[in-house]
């Protein structure tokens, strides 16, 4: 579904990703962990098509198409969704209109008929229940005045509305209390259907107690230095990253 090969990317003059390779199959959940500054969020931004980053080498194929050749909005329409670490506020733009426009564009791209107002509201109702946001969105602007937890729940709600095939979650657990973490995780788990794939970027093991990954990778200095199954996350939780850093730096 998503194949990253030897990806190098830099921001301004600083190279951050230095030959990252990763293959994600249909329906798989991959967790990406790693110390601060290892390039986790850069990976999310590069995949989503943020222009501040320049890809200098490597390829990314998404459903056999060249992802790097697509504009950010095309990637979204093709089914790549990024749940932001820091969702921005867009004052004055109502959640409903924002989502309606987004759902409309994405359905159009996929050759689906536009939803009627009634169908749209039905979908909103159904999907907002997933993250316990039911009835709290209609009259508010996008993320404006939302608490940290609400913002993250809103990201997952949008993800459910847009029905992507590849979900990238960038530190969705940061700033969440235990209840919000549970709600967000349950929302994500409800969307695991054996077909949809996930990349879950996180610092902490605790999110992976709720969303159990198929694979865990450690990113350090712009490369994946170790891959394993969910047990690797537990090992990292216990031992920290230092032993890995030392091993890698010794090379």
């Amino acid at each position: 579904m998503l194949k990253i090969e030897n990806l190098h990317a830099r921001i301004e003059e600083k190279e951050i990703l230095k030959g990252l390779s990763l293959t994600i199959g249909e329906g798989e959940v991959h967790a990406i962990m790693g110390p601060n500054g290892s390039g986790k969020s850069t990976l999310a931004s590069v995949l989503a098509g943020r222009e501040d980053y320049e890809v200098t080498e490597g390829t990314v194929t998404f459903n056999s198409k060249d992802l790097l050749d697509m504009a950010a909005e095309e990637r979204a329409r093709e089914g790549l969704f990024l749940a932001f670490q820091y969702p921005v506020e867009i004052p004055g733009v109502s959640n409903m209109n924002f989502l309606k426009a987004a759902v409309g564009e994405i359905r159009k791209h996929r050759g689906l008929e536009a939803l009627t107002a009634k169908e749209f509201l039905q979908l909103v109702k159904e999907k907002s229940q997933l993250v316990e946001l039911d009835g709290q969105l209609a009259n508010r602007a996008v993320n404006e005045g939302f608490s940290g937890g609400e913002k993250k729940r809103n990201e997952i709600f949008q993800m459910a509305m847009l029905n992507p095939s590849m979900c990238v979650l960038d530190e969705t657990d940061s700033g969440l209390d235990i209840d919000a973490l549970r709600i967000v995780s349950e929302g994500v788990n409800a969307m695991r259907d054996g077909k949809r794939s996930f990349v879950i970027i996180t610092h902490y093991q605790r999110l992976l107690d709720h969303i159990v990954p198929d694979f865990v990778h450690v990113l350090y200095k712009g490369k994946i230095v170790k891959s394993g199954t969910k047990e690797l996350a537990l090992e990292l939780e216990e031992k920290g990253y230092d032993w890995l850093k030392e091993m890698e730096d010794a090379k």
Binding site: A72, E73, R75, F84, I90, G92, V93, A102, L162
Partner: protein
Amino acid sequence: MAYEGDELLENVTSKEYEFGFTTNIESDKAPAGLNEDIIRLISSKKNEPQWLLDWRLEAFKIFQKMTEPEWAHVKYEKPNLQAISFYAAPKQKKVLNSLDEMDPELRKTMEKLGISIEEQKRLSGVAVDFVMDSVSVATSFKEKLGELGIIFCSISDAVQEHPELIKKYLGTVVPRTDNYYAALNSAVFTDGSFCYIPKGVRCPMELSTYFRINEAGTGQFERTLLIADEESYVSYLEGCTAPQRDENQLHAAVVELVAMRDAEIKYSTVQNWYPGDKDGKGGIFNFVTKRGMCEGANSKISWTQVETGSAVTWKYPSCILKGDNSVGEFYSVAVTNHFQQADTGTKMIHIGKNTKSTIISKGISSGRSQNSYRGLVQIGKNASNARNFSQCDSLLMTDTSGAHTFPYIEVNNSTAKVEHEATTSKIGEDQIFYCLQRGLDQEQAVSMIVNGYAKDVLNKLPMEFAVEAQKLLAISLEGSVG
């Protein structure tokens, strides 16, 4: 709100000024130049009474002693008044008995502007007066309004049919001595709309005037006078377009509003005069004096404007809050792109007790444009408990554009409360990227963010206008980011 979103998003397509066509109809145009003879010609063309000719000539004398103001934060080559024709009228062969007899070319123009008269009649219940170049050519719904005692006609007709009202009110809110362009307008105004709402009547429909400059080498000097008698209400809409021309054309209008005791006037403008091309060539000079007088107690005047057009705009719709407890409001969105310059704002003059005013101004600057808010809040010494709240926000779309705020506050009564808030922000790359990541394209993202930013003002517009205004904002800012 129901009108947000979809329709707007589907309409962000045409890149150029959409209303840049001209209409080929025969026109009766005066020779270029400004002098007493031209004023006499205008007055006689319009079959005016002697007192009005005298009033014009007096205005001309005043005008000759004045100089063009230079305090605004705009730079332009002053128009050569001797090169402008001060009167141009679509030539009509005979008096029309009904709108069906109108020149088909003129009808087509109206249809292009989206104001097909039939359509208006059937669907929206908006009464329209259409002013092309200097002359008012059609007023729909006249009879229906007449039954309520509402007068809605061109100001030329009003001079003939209701001279007592014109004589009583003309120049009372904006005197001939007010400023250079108001004096000029008083001398040479050719047409415009007149409206009178009698005591206790709530006007059942939006009244609307569409202004259009068509002829080359002309100026448009319309004059609008709107009187809301005691306990009446009216909502008035004004729209403006002009063809694309390389030269600068002058538009110097005067609008006067009078609200008597317990009356309310809501005046909305969507100004889309040709702004010039992307290199700053051509465009309309929009030098307009608009002022409302809250004459009676508890009266209210509310100005809402969406300004997207004109090469240079110089415009300050104001309220004189004379009646006790009267209320003045000013809601504005001003967009400038390319080389456009706007110096716009309001004056709130508090004279009566317990008077209240609200100013919400949203400037959006793109390209290499300059966008200034200039506002005066003046609290008179007898205006006990006067209140003002002002909020002036500026949004910059590019590094090469400018946003400026010039607030003036004069308080002469210690019980007054005046609040002023101002912000300047740059459109967020993060906001745009967020929209892109959800599948919207760049243009949709910008239009959505900008409309969100201007929402407090757009919500004040009547429904029909709000949709149009949203589209205009999107079109005006196309290609302005990235």
